[in-house]
Symmetry: C2
């Protein structure tokens, strides 16, 4: 039995998930946003490596398990209403996005549309080759 | 009729909402996370002032309408799968949280629990007095 009152303080949604933001501990850039279930948050705290829950694959997901782009967690914070976590992380490879970019937030609103403003650092075909 | 293809590119959830992160444009601190519906995002882009959708009150919410702690938006970004927005903002009063703190993320995980590590800048009773 786990005795984890800190996990009970998180306001899990109807699907048992919480929003998790990964922020680069050095540059403070927001790199990605994903979801965690209870197991993912517990594992993240225990191992110091970011774990998420993949809604599309419906399973626990250790970020970087395929790409090698793991995230080492320096700090976890919870917001006032308990439904969002911000992590300070060190991003292996300097790439968080599956498109091969540093951050998932590579589109900026300008001239009435979302414009891609960040370059691809590494071809995803190279990142995810079998 | 609005012709807003950029709004169609957002992956609205089943409730017509998208997650919105407000990040201080100077310090890069994540100040708060809330939700936007289509109208809120359109208004945010049109006015340059952050608007959200309050799920608890089920209505459009101009941040700071009661507290005066409005947010002036310098940049909007959308993530790779289109379901999260990051805003670069200037926070009026230096307080984003309803608890009177700079950021909603004032609890840090340490020693097995969420510890409050940030001070209250202004008493909420003073912020929200009638």
């Amino acid at each position: 039995m786990n005795n984890s009152p800190w996990l009970d303080e998180v306001k899990w949604d109807a699907n048992g998930l919480v929003t998790a933001i990964a922020q680069d501990e050095k540059t403070q850039r927001v790199l990605m946003v994903a979801w965690m279930n209870r197991e993912a948050l517990q594992l993240t705290a225990d191992t110091g490596i970011a774990h998420y829950y993949s809604r599309s694959r419906q399973k626990l997901w250790k970020k970087g398990e395929e790409s090698g782009h793991t995230q080492t967690v320096a700090e976890l914070r919870l917001d006032c209403d308990g439904d969002v976590i911000v992590m300070q992380i060190a991003q292996a490879g300097g790439i968080a996005c599956h498109t091969g970019r540093e951050s998932c937030f590579y589109r900026r609103y300008q001239q009435g549309g979302w414009q891609t403003v960040d370059a691809v650092i590494k071809d995803p075909a190279q990142i995810y080759r079998a």
